[in-house]
């Protein structure tokens, strides 16, 4: 009788074992979907990165000799669109999908099928965008301002619109899931203020997605009518107003910046305390500042239009709101520094990327405040200064934090340890390559180099050469990354349940987590960051061993 049930149990467990094929199917497990998001986003990262390398190769010389100017415009349009909509945003969704249920002790997301639908909108959206190369890819930049976007190839532009509509829908469905799951599915003992900060940042992100993405969809549908049906919503030739498109576009696309950075603020708030062995400094300040950024993020959009059709008073209003964003962002940066202060820092790969994130994002933040100042922005708008600025925010910010999170949760997600040496090499090459690529751009912009050009003034060549060299270094930096991932998956040592001695709930289950996430209902026995609190520092290790020995002897 006993053996019989055991056999049944064993069979049951074997049947529910995760198989590789699951990752290629419509699967409703949030962990599978998280991995699907992450892998898909990285495939597009390599495509978008290849486009960037082609652009930097073109810009090594002042003449358009490597790419034709038309092709160059297609490259930067696809590069921007891919990196935003198919890498950073889905990578944020990847972490949210994988981590939220585990962090709050839930078995899955609130709407698992909706979750799978959200993911499966991503591959067709991405393929549609890439396929536009066959009919002539869009050339009007990721902003696709009319009237230019109505004049540079109808079908390429239309495929771009349809692709963004699919990806935007995916994003909205994901946000519904994240917000509902966080608000409704926490284990009993976890109130909002004992959630990990990643959940707070995803709550703020979801609010932004839900409020702003539909506005982009409406703008793109109207643009589509202008393009296909010959209406004149935005086409001045028929009485339309191209500036209205800019307002609608940026009403989404500025919040999009926060949609891309807030999840990674959350990642950093998880990584830094664990590897500094200290509680996060100012939990509530960090949590509420995410909400403040989310709110302010909705009322700053016209700072992208300071030289466009905006009256003076409007420029002044958006200058003031934009500058205010510096306050909650500053709170976060200072709090992360204070978390490290006095801690016991391990300089492993996730922590290196996290420190790299703080130091690079700081630069993006400082230039961001400068850009908010209207008289200065009028000089540098649409120049390489802006290109430098937003790459410090999106690469130095989002991407470095993405790698920090990737290495931090790699053991949890895969059950394998990564190679620390290769990880550190990846960090050093990325950090150097990134700074060499994007730092000179600030000076180029100030001196007078405009963006989105395949041909430029020969006096700008030296700085452009440095930038191109940095871009090649960034390309090289992906080699240790790929080797590390492949090697660790195949040959890596088995990861422990909690290799970092972290306190959040995802570390209380097996690595990788079992199908139902937790073998039994998880118990919230401490706050997410209660490092150094309920044990006397000296005796901890020994006392745990003694306790285990006690249990074993009994």
């Amino acid at each position: 009788m006993v053996s019989n049930t055991e056999v049944v149990k064993k069979e049951h467990r074997e049947r529910r074992e995760r198989r590789l094929i699951d990752y290629f199917t419509f699967n409703t497990d949030h962990k599978v979907i998280g991995i699907q998001y992450l892998v898909t986003s990285f495939l597009f990262y390599f495509i978008g990165g290849a486009f960037a390398e082609a652009m930097r190769t073109e810009l090594a010389t002042p003449n358009p000799d490597f790419l034709s100017p038309e092709l160059y415009n297609q490259m930067f349009t696809l590069h921007g669109t891919i990196m935003i909509f198919l890498w950073i945003v889905p990578a944020g969704a990847a972490f949210a999908n994988y981590l939220i249920p585990l962090m709050i002790g839930a078995e899955d997301m609130a709407f698992p099928r909706l979750n799978a639908v959200a993911f499966w909108l991503l591959p067709p959206g991405g393929l549609l965008l890439i396929a536009s190369l066959l009919v002539g890819a869009p050339q009007a930049g990721w902003t696709s301002y009319p009237p230019l976007s109505l004049m540079t190839g109808k079908w390429g532009q239309e495929m771009w619109i349809l692709s963004i509509l699919l990806l935007g829908t995916s994003s909205i469905l994901g946000a519904i899931n994240f917000a509902t799951t966080i608000l409704k599915m926490r284990i009993k003992d976890m109130d909002l203020h004992s959630m990990p900060l990643f959940c707070w940042s995803m709550l703020a992100t979801s609010a932004l997605i839900l409020l702003s993405t539909p506005v982009l969809a409406s703008a793109l549908i109207l643009l589509s009518f202008d393009l296909i049906a010959g209406t004149s919503f935005f086409n001045p030739a028929g009485g339309g107003d191209p500036v209205v498109y800019q307002h609608l576009f940026w009403f989404y696309s500025h919040p999009a910046v926060y949609i891309m950075i807030l999840p990674f603020f959350g990642v950093i708030s998880e990584v830094i305390p664990v590897h500094s062995r200290k509680p996060i400094f100012g939990y509530r300040a960090i949590a509420y500042s995410s909400l403040a950024i989310s709110f302010l993020g909705l009322i700053v959009w016209a700072h992208h239009m300071f030289t466009s059709g905006t009256p003076g008073w409007l420029r002044m209003f958006f200058m003031a709101t934009t500058m205010l964003v510096a306050v909650p962002t500053g709170i976060k940066v200072f709090s992360w520094c204070a978390t490290m202060w006095g801690g016991k820092i391990s300089l492993n790969t996730p922590m290196l990327f996290a420190i790299g994130f703080v130091s690079s994002f700081l630069i993006g933040g400082l230039t961001g405040v400068m850009l908010a100042s209207v008289p200065f922005d009028i000089h540098v708008h649409d120049t390489y200064f802006v290109v430098g600025h937003f790459h410090y925010v999106l690469f130095g910010g989002s991407a470095l934090a993405l790698f920090a999170g990737f290495y931090h949760w790699f053991p949890k997600m895969t059950g394998k340890n990564y190679n620390e040496t290769l990880g550190r090499l990846h960090f050093i090459l990325t950090f150097l390559g990134f700074n060499i690529t994007f730092m000179p751009m600030h000076q180029l912009g100030l001196m007078g180099m405009n963006r989105r050009i395949a041909l430029y003034d020969p006096s700008f060549q030296p700085l452009n050469l440095i930038s191109t060299a940095g871009a090649y270094l960034l390309a090289i930096s992906t080699i240790p990354f790929i080797i590390n991932v492949v090697w660790s998956l195949l040959k890596g040592t088995k990861a422990e349940r909690n290799p970092w001695n972290a306190l959040t709930l995802e570390w209380q289950t097996a690595s990788p987590p079992v199908m139902e996430n937790f073998e039994e209902e998880p118990i919230l026995w401490s706050g997410p960051y209660d490092y150094g609190i309920d044990t006397s520092p000296e005796a901890t290790a020994q006392s745990v061993e003694e306790m285990l020995a006690d249990v074993a002897s009994k």
Binding site: Y72, G141, Y145, P147, L148, M151, T152, P236, A237, P242, R277, K278, P279, G282, Y283, R284, T307, S308, G309, P311, G312, R315, M316, M319, M323, L324, A326, V327, G330, F334, C337, A338, M340, G342, G343, K344, I345, S346, I355, S359, L362, L366, M370, P375, F376, I378, H379, H381, D382, L446, M447, G448, N450, R451, R452, A454, L455, Y531, G532, A541
Partner: protein, 314 residues
């Protein structure tokens, strides 16, 4: 010798301040400034650079210090001190950035106002009657705080002062700038202006959005099809400066460039005379009822100055 830590902190603070003040003035990142307004923008940038350098050194310094000083010792498996926050410190680092951005916003507002960004007269959308009212109002109060009265009427696109010595019409098309001088009828592919005179540009776009940018003037304004935008400036430095299209306008966007010549009064008059003669020779007076081609009057010399002009736009 054991120096108290608060003295070291003080010294570090002074050192940091001095470096920031020095770098804020000596970064050398801006091109030459060809007008008083450009100098005002540069001073604003220097101010922001000073603060940014200070904050940069402070935070990077803390990061580097943490990495060196607070490393986990090998074999140490214990946690750090359970510090969860410090309310006075958090209030401090909320208040200081708030004050900084408040000052910066006021300063930027002042500079923008001095550029003529809030000038009432620039308004083109304003009906004539209301324009006069706005004029009177301006005579009563000598400041232009339209930001406080946004319903006083539509403001112009662009920035500038109403009182200009020279007015030039600018037509932006893929991929060329065409400048028309209504006083003399000169049409040129380059912009010639006399030094120390206020110039007003009335700008229109023929096809897509372009943007007029002269880095040395620190001025930029989109030129949007379907509406007029304006830009006014008073160059104070003789020289040749690039005019760059800053808004993506198509494949040859990078080639949409020409030159601004800021000339002495004599040189400018000489240029005007030379072009007047050239244009009357090229274009004998047209028969009545003749509707000129938009580019009629453009001399062969002018066309030669315009780079990458596609044949279909001629």
């Amino acid at each position: 010798m054991n120096i108290p830590s608060n003295i070291i902190t003080l010294l570090a603070g002074i050192f940091l301040t001095l470096i920031s003040l020095w770098y804020g003035q000596h970064h050398g990142l801006m091109p030459a400034a060809a007008s008083e307004e450009a100098k005002a923008v540069d001073e604003l940038f220097n101010f922001m650079m000073t603060i940014a350098t200070g904050l940069f050194l402070l935070v990077e310094g803390v990061l580097v210090y943490c990495v060196i000083r607070f490393r986990r010792k090998r074999g140490d498996r214990t946690d750090g001190p359970p510090v969860e926050g410090n309310v006075p410190l958090e209030i401090l680092w909320t208040a200081i950035p708030t004050i900084i951005v408040f000052i910066l916003a006021l300063y930027s507002f002042e500079v923008y106002n001095s550029l003529g960004g809030l000038d009432v007269d620039t308004s083109k959308d304003l009906p004539a009657s209301r324009l006069e009212m706005a004029d009177e109002e301006e005579n009563h109060h000598h400041h232009h705080l339209v930001a406080l009265n946004p319903h006083g009427g539509h403001l112009a696109l662009g920035i500038g002062s109403g009182k200009a010595d020279l007015e030039v019409e600018v037509n932006a098309i893929q991929y060329a700038w065409i400048f028309t001088y209504p006083d003399t009828g000169i049409i040129s592919g380059e912009l010639h202006v006399p030094v120390n005179k206020r110039v007003r540009l009335k700008m229109k776009a023929g096809d897509v959005i372009h943007a007029f940018w002269v880095p040395q003037l620190r001025l930029k304004q989109d030129v949007i099809p379907g509406r007029e935008s304006e830009l006014s400036f008073k160059p104070t430095k003789i020289g040749r400066y690039p005019i760059i299209c800053a808004e993506l306008c198509g494949a040859y966007h990078g080639g949409m460039k020409t030159t601004l010549y800021v000339e002495s009064e004599e040189d400018y008059q000489q240029w005007v005379e030379k072009n007047l003669i050239a244009q009357t020779q090229d274009n004998p007076s047209p028969p009545s009822g003749y509707k000129p081609h938009p580019l009629a009057g453009v001399t062969r010399d002018t066309l030669a100055q315009i780079p990458h002009i596609p044949p279909q736009s001629l």
